[in-house]
């Protein structure tokens, strides 16, 4: 189709000068609302909706105490996912980038979380009436970085041989862990009693709605991942589209999660920003369809429109036939043909 034809086609579509039929818009909208309500209520009665209870730090520390303590030590010694994350939580790394575009770094750290201080030391300091624990914390903080690393590394290695005692306590083989073993035992007990969930929630005031610290702590351990794997919600399982149980999920995220399954997105350290860039471009493309050559002319090339408007075209043909019979066209003048 030539550009001139496309412009003519476009202009012809501006107004409709043909016939109209009576139509009740409000009635149609009311019927549509009734239909949707019936469908929604029907689906509710048939299937309800999923509601799998949250994990808590309390439940995590009780059911998987070794995993909890291992994660806590990694937060303390800076080897956890959070500790090395970078912006917006800390400066441990520069965050993801595409070429010279370092959006994460440019926007910086604005949810500052010091993993060791905020997830381990501060909650331990808040435990009241345990002077031996406070002494242990002071001893840890006063030690050199090298000494601290020696203790935490030894303790982490020992956790590979840990056993769980009655009441959910964690025992490790004897070794030189300094104050770390005391601190971890207290943190575990605090978590198992439910105190750590609250301690990580409250900030400087009574009312709290921000679960960032508790969620990041749990995300560094296995508690959420193990449940997600069981429900096929992991990234490599196209999990972004999925819902818990056998419910339909977020089907509209199909293209977004698709990119994560293929290279280079699936193996790149900058996979997230790459996928976001591709999706931003495609989303812009969707919005600008009317301006994109090729994309805007596809509906004409693949004529599904002939099916949609088949009644209209048939009525045109019958009008043309009647008109041709009543008013036969003279042959085109020589200067107009060809």
């Amino acid at each position: 189709m030539s550009r001139a034809q496309r412009i003519r086609d476009d202009e012809a579509a501006r107004t409709w000068t043909g016939g109209y039929r009576p139509y009740d818009l409000v009635k149609e909208a009311s019927i549509a609302f009734g239909v949707v309500l019936a469908l929604a209520v029907g689906l509710t009665i048939l299937f309800s909706s999923p509601d799998e209870r949250s994990s808590t730090i309390k439940s995590w520390s009780r059911t998987a105490p070794v995993d909890f303590v291992t994660t806590a030590v990694s937060e303390l010694d800076g080897s956890s996912g959070l500790a090395g994350y970078g912006p917006p939580y800390n400066h441990a790394s520069e965050g993801q980038h595409i070429a010279f575009i370092h959006l994460a770094k440019w926007f910086g750290v604005n949810i500052a979380i010091d993993a060791a201080r905020d997830l381990v030391l501060a909650p331990l300091r808040s435990i009241y009436g345990q002077p031996a624990l406070q002494t242990a914390i002071t001893r840890y903080q006063a030690a050199s970085a090298k000494q601290q690393a020696a203790w935490t590394t030894a303790y982490t290695d020992a956790l590979n041989k840990a056993t769980v005692g009655a009441g959910g306590s964690v025992s490790v083989p004897a070794g030189d862990y300094g104050p770390v073993s005391t601190m971890m035992a207290s943190l575990l007990s605090f978590a198992q009693s439910g105190g750590l969930d609250g301690a990580l929630l409250t900030n400087k005031q009574f009312y709290a709605t921000d679960y960032t610290k508790a969620l990041l702590f749990m995300a560094d351990g296995g508690v959420l991942t193990n449940r997600a794997q069981a429900e096929d919600l992991l990234g490599g399982q196209w999990g972004m589209m999925n819902e818990t149980g056998s419910y339909p999920g977020q089907v509209w995220l199909w293209l977004y999660t698709f990119w994560y399954q293929i290279k280079p997105f699936s193996t790149s350290a900058n996979g997230d920003i790459l996928v976001m860039a591709v999706m931003a471009a495609l989303s812009l493309g969707l919005v600008l369809v009317p301006f994109l050559p090729g994309v805007r002319s596809l509906p004409r090339r693949i004529p599904i429109y002939r099916l949609i408007w088949r009644e209209h075209y048939r009525s045109l043909e019958s009008v043309d036939a009647v008109s041709a019979a009543e008013h036969p066209m003279p042959p085109p003048a020589a200067h107009l043909s060809g």
Partner: protein
């Protein structure tokens, strides 16, 4: 809690094809969309011939 008629709180089935892995409920939703789209276009519309006609 009032129970649903069909309890969907169990592990979903999955369809695997090469690297594509989709849950059965999601596949049902996608297939339904395609079928409904096709049906909407192909199904006859009542009163389609009753019209003032083109000019």
């Amino acid at each position: 809690m009032a129970a649903a008629i069909f309890n969907l709180n169990h592990h979903a089935g999955f369809i695997h094809w090469h690297f594509i892995q989709l849950s059965v409920p999601n596949v049902i939703a996608i297939v339904l969309m395609l079928l409904v789209f096709a049906a909407a276009i192909l199904a006859p519309f009542p009163g389609g011939r009753r019209s003032g006609g083109a000019s």
